[in-house]
C-alpha cells in the first residue's frame, strides 16, 4: 500500500447512487487541497447492472485512475465479491489489496472471502435513524471511508451540505449519517497507514465535458445545437443548465444532420455556433461538414468518441474515430482536428478552436473521448482572459465584393447577411471568387484548380503558427513513446515508472492530430524505438504517423472499452523495449 495516495472504489448497481457517492468523495479530497482523478465504470442501463466509481487522490499530481485499491465501498454482495476477487475482470482495475478495507453493510452475508480487511458495518441501521431513503447508507459508508484515512470531517460535511443543500433537512440528515459512519469506524476499526498532506488550495473538480463547454463559452459561443448521445451529452447538459447565465441558445433538433446544418447556418449569419455528438451522430454530420469546408463557413464540431463500431459500447471509451474524422466527407478540404489530452486541455483547446475556425474559415473538430468527457479531475483554476479573434470580416459595402477573393493566405473577407451592398451567394457547388457556380452551365477547369488551391492553402499559416508539440521528460530520451488525446495522464505515469527503472524514455503528446505539426518528425528522428500507444484496435494514429513521417514504430493498443492502467501498460512497453 502506497502511503502518499489513496484509491477508493464505490461499487453497486445502476440506481444505487454509485456515481454521486464517488463525487462526494472526490470533492471532499479536492476541497482538502488534494489532487484527484476519477474513473467511471458504468453500463448503458438505468437500473441494475454493475457499476463502479473510482477516486484516486494524492498530495501530488494524479495523472490517472491508478493501480491498486485501498478502500472498497461495496453497496451489494456482487460488488464485494467482484472487487475483492484476485482474478478481477474489470478492464484492468486492481482488486482490493490485502491491507485494503472493504466497507459494506452487515446485511451482506455468505460472501466469498479473500485476503483483505472486511469492515462489516451497520450502515443501513445507522442510516435508518435519519431517513427511510435507502441511499442514506451510502453516506454512512462515505463517512466511514473518510475516517479510515483521517480526512477532516468538517470538509466532508461541507460537501454534503452543498450536495443536498437544495433539499431542505435532507442535507443535515446526511451530515449526521456521515458522522455516524465516521465515528463508528474510528471506534471499531483501525485507520489505514495512509497520510495525505492536505493544503489550503482550491482546485476545480470538473469533467472534460463541462470544461470543454466552458471553453466554448469563454470563446463567445452563442449557439449550441446537438442531439443527445453519450458521451457528448455532458457538454450539452452543462450548457442547457446555464443557457440563461451565459446567454446561449441551446437546442436539441430532430437529428444530427439538422444540428450541424443549424450550426453552419448560424455561423454563416455571423454567430459563433457549435454542434457536438459521438461517432454515430458525427457520421450523420459528415456531408454537411464538407459543405462547411466548401463554403468556407467557420464551424466547431465536438466529436466525443466511444467504443464502436456502430452502437458499440455506449458507455465505454475508445479512440477509434480518428480515421472517420480525418476522412469525413467527400473531396479534399482543410480541416483542423484538436484532441484534448485531459480536462484542462479541453477548456483551452476548445476555446482556441473558435478562433481557428473563424481565422481559417473552415471546420475545426474537437475530438475527445468518453474518458476525457466524463471523468472528473482536479485542475488549476482557468485563466479566463481570452482574446476573441474573428478573422476577416467586413461590415462595410465593398465595391465588387468577392466573398471568395483569391488572396495570399487563401482566406477572404466574410460578409454577413444584413450588410449593405455585399449580397452574394455561398454555394456547395464549386464556385468562383464571387460565389457564382462554375459547375453547372459553364464549367471552368482552370478556375476549379484555382479555387481548390485557394481553399487548400489556408492551413499553411496554421501549420506555421502551431505551438510546439508538447513532450514529457523528453530530454535525453532514447525511446519515444507517442500518445494522443486522453491517454496522456496514464502514459506520463508509465514514463515515470520506466524512468525509475532506468529506461531512457520520453513522451510525445499529440493534441493536434491534424494537420500534424512537422516538429513531430524531428522529435521522432534518431530514436532507438518509437512506441505508439492508443485506445483502439488498429492503431489509427500509428498509421498516420507512419505515413506522415515515414517512421518505423511499435504499437500498443487497448480496445476493451476501458482506459489503460499504468502498471500493465508499463509492462507492455517494457516487453517491447526488451525485444
Amino acid at each position: 500500500m502506497k502511503t502518499e495516495e489513496v484509491v477508493i472504489r464505490v461499487g453497486g448497481a445502476a440506481g444505487d447512487g454509485v456515481q454521486s457517492a464517488g463525487l462526494i468523495i472526490a470533492k471532499t479530497f479536492s476541497r482538502s487541497g488534494l489532487h484527484v482523478n476519477t474513473y467511471n465504470y458504468y453500463q448503458s442501463i438505468i437500473r441494475g447492472g454493475q457499476s463502479w466509481y473510482q477516486v484516486r487522490a494524492s498530495d501530488s499530481k494524479v495523472r490517472s485512475q491508478g493501480d491498486g485499491l485501498d478502500i472498497l465501498i461495496a453497496l451489494n454482495k456482487d460488488s464485494l465479491e467482484r472487487h475483492t476477487n484476485p482474478m478481477i475482470n474489470e478492464g484492468g482495475a486492481s482488486p482490493l489489496g490485502k491491507d485494503g478495507v472493504a466497507i459494506f453493510d452487515q446485511s451482506i452475508k455468505d460472501f466469498k472471502k479473500e485476503d483483505c480487511q472486511y469492515v462489516q458495518m451497520p450502515l443501513g441501521d445507522l442510516a435508518s435513524k435519519y431517513s427511510k431513503n435507502a441511499l442514506m447508507k451510502n453516506t454512512v459508508a462515505i463517512g466511514a471511508a473518510m475516517a479510515s484515512i483521517g480526512v477532516n470531517f468538517e470538509i466532508l460535511a461541507g460537501v454534503i451540505r452543498d450536495q443536498f443543500g437544495s433539499k431542505g433537512s435532507v442535507a443535515e440528515e446526511n451530515v449526521k449519517a456521515a458522522k455516524e459512519g465516521y465515528d463508528n469506524y474510528l471506534a471499531n476499526f483501525k485507520k489505514l497507514p495512509i497520510s495525505l498532506k492536505t493544503k489550503d488550495k482550491k482546485y476545480y473538480l470538473i469533467s472534460g465535458g463541462e470544461s470543454l463547454a466552458l471553453g466554448a463559452v469563454n470563446a463567445g459561443l452563442k449557439m449550441y445545437v446537438g442531439y443527445p448521445m453519450t458521451p457528448a451529452s455532458s457538454a450539452l447538459h452543462y450548457l442547457a443548465n446555464h443557457q440563461k447565465d451565459f446567454d446561449i441558445f441551446v437546442k436539441i433538433p430532430e437529428d444530427e444532420i439538422s444540428a450541424i446544418n443549424m450550426a453552419i447556418g448560424a455561423n454563416y449569419a455571423g454567430v459563433r455556433a457549435m454542434t457536438g455528438s459521438s461517432g454515430g451522430g458525427f457520421s450523420l454530420m459528415v456531408e454537411a461538414l464538407g459543405m462547411a469546408g466548401m463554403m468556407e463557413v467557420p464551424l466547431v464540431v465536438y466529436e466525443s468518441q466511444r467504443a464502436g463500431p456502430s452502437t458499440g459500447l455506449p458507455t465505454k471509451t475508445e479512440q477509434g474515430d480518428l480515421n472517420l474524422v480525418l476522412g469525413a466527407s467527400q473531396g479534399d478540404f482543410g480541416r483542423i482536428i484538436l484532441a484534448p489530452r485531459n480536462v484542462e486541455d479541453a477548456f483551452y483547446l476548445t476555446r482556441e478552436a473558435f478562433n481557428l475556425a473563424e481565422k481559417y474559415q473552415t471546420p475545426v473538430i474537437v475530438m475527445s473521448d468518453l474518458f476525457v468527457a466524463e471523468h472528473y479531475e482536479t485542475v488549476e483554476q482557468f485563466d479566463l482572459n481570452f482574446k476573441i479573434e474573428r478573422g476577416k470580416i467586413t461590415d462595410k459595402a465593398v465595391q465588387g465584393y468577392k466573398r471568395y477573393q483569391y488572396t495570399d493566405d487563401g482566406v477572404s473577407e466574410r460578409s454577413f447577411p444584413g450588410t449593405p451592398g455585399n449580397m452574394h451567394n455561398e454555394d456547395s457547388d464549386e464556385h468562383n471568387e464571387f460565389g457564382d457556380v462554375v459547375s453547372d452551365a459553364i464549367t471552368d477547369p482552370g478556375l476549379r484548380v484555382e479555387s481548390m488551391k485557394k481553399r487548400m492553402k489556408k492551413l499553411n499559416n496554421y501549420i506555421k503558427e502551431m505551438p510546439p508539440t508538447p513532450t514529457y521528460r523528453f530530454d535525453g530520451a532514447e525511446i519515444a513513446l507517442v500518445q494522443w488525446g486522453g491517454t496522456q495522464g496514464v502514459v506520463e505515469e508509465v514514463v515515470d515508472i520506466l524512468r525509475e527503472k532506468g529506461h531512457k524514455v520520453g513522451l510525445v503528446e499529440i493534441n493536434r492530430p491534424y494537420p500534424l505539426n512537422p516538429d513531430i518528425g524531428k522529435l521522432l528522428s534518431g530514436k532507438k524505438k518509437i512506441v505508439v500507444i492508443e485506445n483502439n484496435y488498429s492503431g489509427q494514429m500509428n498509421k498516420l504517423l507512419r505515413s506522415e513521417f515515414l517512421v518505423k514504430t511499435d504499437l500498443i493498443t487497448k480496445f476493451d472499452g476501458e482506459s489503460f492502467y499504468p502498471g500493465a501498460l508499463a509492462e507492455e512497453v517494457e516487453a517491447i523495449l526488451k525485444r
Partner: protein
C-alpha cells in the same frame, strides 16, 4: 423604394425554357420588393435540385447548401439574426424525401421563416426519377413500369405538424403566386407554400394545361383548421389553390428564453468570470 430590379441577379438562370421556376423567381423577387424588404436583409437558403439553384440567380444573401437541408440552415439564420427575412426554397424531392423530418419539425416549431417548395412531382436535375409527390402509375426513369407509391400530401403534413400558414400556388398564375408569397412572408411564424411548378422536360402529366384545367380558388375561412385540412385533401378534376390556413401563434423565437430578448448577433460575448465557475470548487 425597393423594386423588383433590385433583386435581379447577375447570373442568368439556367433552367429549361418554360420551367415553372422562372415564375417563382419573379414572384419571390416581386414579393420581397413589394414588402419593401431590402436585398441586404433577405436570405434564401436552398438544398439541391433544379429549383434549389435559385439563390445563384437572385440578388440577396444566398445559401445554396446540400440536398434536403434548407430548413435547419434557414432556422438557424433566423435565430442568429431575427431582423432578417429568411426564406427556404427547394423542390419536392429535396423537401419531402431527404428533408422530410426537417419539414415536419420546423413546422412544429413555428419558426418565423417562409418555406416555398417548387413542386414539379419529379426529380429534374437527376434527369427524371419518381419523387415523393409523383402520381401513382407515373412512368419515370426509376419507375419504368409505373410508380407504385402513393404521392404524399405536403399540405396535410404541414397542417398536422403545426404550420401556422399553409398555402398552395401555381407557377402558371404569376400574380396569385406573388400575392400568396407576399402573404406568407408577412405571416409571423412558419409559412409553407407548395407551388405547382410544371417540369416541361420530365413530367408530361402534370403540365401547365393539366393545372390550368383544374385549379380553382375557393372561398374559405383560413382560421378553420378542419376546412383547411379538407381543402388540402381535394384532388381530382378540381384542385384548390390559395391560402388554406393562417393563424396567429407564438413563434419559436418568442418562447426561447435567450433569443426572445435580443437577436443573438447583437448580444456581446458573455464575460466569463471565476464566480460563474464557483460550483466546481
Amino acid at each position: 423604394m425597393v423594386t423588383i430590379a433590385d433583386y435581379k441577379g447577375k447570373v442568368k438562370p439556367d433552367w429549361c425554357p418554360g420551367c415553372g421556376n422562372f415564375a417563382q423567381l419573379s414572384a419571390i423577387s416581386a414579393a420581397l420588393a413589394d414588402l419593401g424588404i431590402e436585398p441586404k436583409d433577405a436570405v434564401v437558403s436552398s438544398g439541391i435540385g433544379c429549383s434549389s439553384n435559385l439563390p445563384e440567380f437572385i440578388n440577396l444573401y444566398g445559401f445554396h447548401g446540400i440536398h434536403g437541408r434548407s430548413l435547419p440552415v434557414a432556422s438557424a439564420i433566423k435565430w442568429a439574426n431575427e431582423k432578417l427575412t429568411v426564406l427556404a426554397y427547394g423542390g419536392d424531392g429535396d423537401g419531402f424525401f431527404e428533408g422530410t423530418q426537417h419539414f415536419y419539425h420546423t413546422a412544429k416549431r413555428n419558426v418565423d421563416i417562409t418555406y416555398i417548395v417548387s413542386d414539379n412531382q419529379i426529380f429534374g436535375l437527376t434527369t427524371g426519377q419518381a419523387s415523393p409527390t409523383s402520381q401513382l402509375g407515373m412512368k419515370t426513369k426509376s419507375t419504368p413500369e409505373g410508380n407504385i407509391e402513393k404521392p404524399l400530401n405536403p399540405l396535410t403534413i404541414a397542417l398536422t405538424a403545426g404550420a401556422t400558414f399553409v398555402a398552395r400556388a401555381f407557377s402558371g398564375d404569376a400574380l396569385h403566386l406573388r400575392e400568396v408569397i407576399k402573404r406568407g412572408i408577412k405571416h409571423k411564424g412558419f409559412s409553407f407554400i407548395d407551388v405547382f411548378s410544371p417540369c416541361v422536360t420530365y413530367n408530361k402529366i402534370n403540365t401547365y394545361d393539366f393545372f390550368r384545367q383544374r385549379v380553382y380558388k375557393p372561398e374559405t375561412d383560413v382560421k378553420d383548421f378542419d376546412k383547411a385540412y379538407k381543402l388540402a385533401q381535394e384532388w381530382g378534376d378540381k384542385i384548390p389553390i390559395g391560402v388554406f390556413y393562417e393563424v396567429e401563434a407564438k413563434r419559436y423565437e418568442d418562447y426561447d428564453p435567450v433569443i426572445s430578448s435580443m437577436p443573438l448577433i447583437e448580444k456581446p460575448p458573455v464575460k466569463l468570470t471565476s464566480e460563474a465557475l464557483a460550483e466546481f470548487l
